[in-house]
């Protein structure tokens, strides 16, 4: 074990340039993946902010008894898709209309009778804001006799759905492509390291070292390079995030950085590539010689 660790670290000391180059290569390859993840995460965040505005509005018939409304509000709030139900009375609706629709302010000012209906505004839970769930909730609302009309901007939500699906698919494909390119580049880098030490491997075989023993230091070295490359990538991603944080505004909030779990996953990905890349290269080398 001590020899394994010593040999792995000696490899860094004996070939500092190659080690630095391979860590940098791993770092930049993972940085490309990380940058893409950063963009994907922020796009999703932006979509979520837009989605939060999805709501279903049920307009009530004039003269609906308050008890019926209270009962219905409770029932609707218990729907699995529903996050919150807000009752807007006729008076409140008029007040809002006066405040928000400035160009019609005069028309609303001198009304003898309030023409606006009371309504229930229903916010949906995260994950239920797509066209299908929204339509299902709207249909159920229409079953109440005192609900006159249900509106939810069907077209807008359907567009949002399509955007979400396209973003997901494109993101997955590009992410996969970036990761594949990173794997290939890192694989080549590690193969160079193994070839550079071909003589050492030959001597090990000659004096009777087992394949397991030969593999050990390479795998550890690969994993360490993957770890360091992963940390370099995280640093570069964070620097990029800091650079853009002040400049880009997404809807109401600024851009976000990757979650700690995502960062950990990225670094683990680096370690895994380093480890398995070394395994493949050493195995291939041991088979060839």
């Amino acid at each position: 074990m001590r020899l394994l660790v010593r040999e792995a670290f000696l490899a860094f000391r004996r070939a500092p340039l190659l080690s630095t180059l391979s860590i940098t290569t791993i770092g930049f390859s993972l940085y490309a993946v990380g940058l893409f993840a950063l963009v994907a995460v922020n796009l999703r965040q932006a979509l979520r902010l837009v989605e939060e505005r999805v709501e279903v509005v049920a307009y009530l018939l004039h003269g609906t008894p308050p008890e019926a409304i209270a009962q219905a509000s409770q029932d609707i709030a218990a729907f699995p898709e529903v996050a919150r139900v807000t009752f807007v009375s006729e008076d409140e609706a008029l007040k809002r209309a006066r405040a928000e629709l400035v160009e019609f302010r005069d028309a609303y000012r001198d009304l003898a009778v309030n023409p606006l209906p009371a309504s229930l505004e229903i916010q949906l839970k995260d994950g239920f804001r797509d066209a299908e769930n929204t339509a299902a909730v709207a249909d159920r609302l229409r079953g109440y006799g005192f609900i006159d009309d249900v509106r939810y901007g069907r077209e807008w939500i359907e567009k949002l759905d399509r955007l979400r699906n396209i973003a997901g698919l494109v993101g997955f494909i590009i992410g996969l492509a970036f990761a594949a390119v990173a794997v290939v580049i890192i694989g080549v880098t590690i193969r160079i390291t193994v070839l550079q030490r071909a003589r050492e491997i030959a001597v090990m075989r000659l004096v009777g070292a087992t394949h397991g023993f030969i593999r050990g230091p390479f795998l550890l070295e690969g994993a360490i390079k993957g770890l360091l490359g992963g940390l370099v990538a995280v640093g570069l991603c964070y620097a990029t995030y800091l650079l853009f944080r002040g400049q880009v505004q997404l809807a109401t909030s600024g851009i976000v950085f990757l979650l700690p779990e995502q960062v950990t996953l990225g670094v683990l990905f680096g370690i895994a590539i380093g480890f398995f890349g070394s395994l493949v290269s050493v195995e291939r080398h041991l088979r060839d010689v």
Binding site: L3, V203, R205, V207, G208, T210, I214
Partner: protein
């Protein structure tokens, strides 16, 4: 110790060994001679499990090379020492580290390594240069380090493929004398060479190969199993 029975070895470009049968007893010193391409190196590679025979049987130190499994290869090589014309030392390690490397990668106890390394470096006459890197040593000295590395695991057989091929006359004499001393200690030495002057200096058994076949064996009269 070593027995080849009706061994054939084919390469894609031609036949390397044709019906070679050979028995080498414990403690023997055997020269394999012949021109380049005669099959000397092929025999040596069969002995340390780098090649398998196309047909026939090769037995080395209790292992059947024909049926050698990947797991057997390290076990076989720990009983052998192998040296080459080009030394095959690691340039970024000192003489001492090169020798220690052979012990370390075969799982030797770390506390015994320094003393065993110094013992063999003393045996090959290089104790004073233990901390020198290969490029700081002469060709003869580098080959001595390679021999020390081959000896450090106490092999029963030392396989030497043209060990003096890259050395001047003086270094050749020194390395050859060292191999003789090792043989005197009981280690079987199989040495491929085309230096006939060296061969003529001694009465050691000589096996001459030509185009993959044994054409002369000075020890052919001796009965198999003779450990002389």
């Amino acid at each position: 110790m070593i027995r080849l029975s009706q061994v054939f070895k084919d390469y894609p470009k031609g036949v390397a060994l044709k019906n070679v049968s050979l028995h080498i007893a414990k403690g023997e010193f055997v020269f394999l001679t012949g021109h380049s391409g005669a099959g000397k190196s092929t025999i040596l590679k069969l002995l340390f499990g780098e090649l398998r025979p196309t047909s026939g049987d090769v037995r080395v130190s209790g292992f059947s090379i024909t049926d050698l499994t990947p797991a057997d290869v390290p076990r076989l090589r720990r009983r052998l020492g192998v040296v080459f014309q080009d030394f095959r030392l690691l340039d970024d390690r000192t003489a001492e580290e090169n020798v220690a490397f052979a012990l370390e990668v075969t799982g030797a106890r770390p506390d015994g390594v320094p003393s065993r390394v110094m013992r063999v470096l003393t045996q090959v006459g290089l104790a004073a240069k233990a901390h020198a890197y290969p490029q700081e040593l002469s060709g003869g000295e580098q080959q001595r380090v390679a021999i020390a590395r081959a000896l450090v695991n106490d092999p029963t057989i030392l396989i030497a493929d043209e060990p003096t091929g890259n050395l001047d006359e003086r270094a050749t004499r020194g390395v050859f004398q060292l191999l003789r001393e090792i043989n005197t200690g009981g280690t079987c030495v199989v040495m491929a060479t085309h230096d006939l002057d060296l061969v003529k200096q001694t009465t050691y058994r000589t096996v001459e190969l030509r185009e993959g076949a044994v054409v002369f064996d000075s020890g052919a009269d001796e009965s198999p199993g003779d450990d002389a």
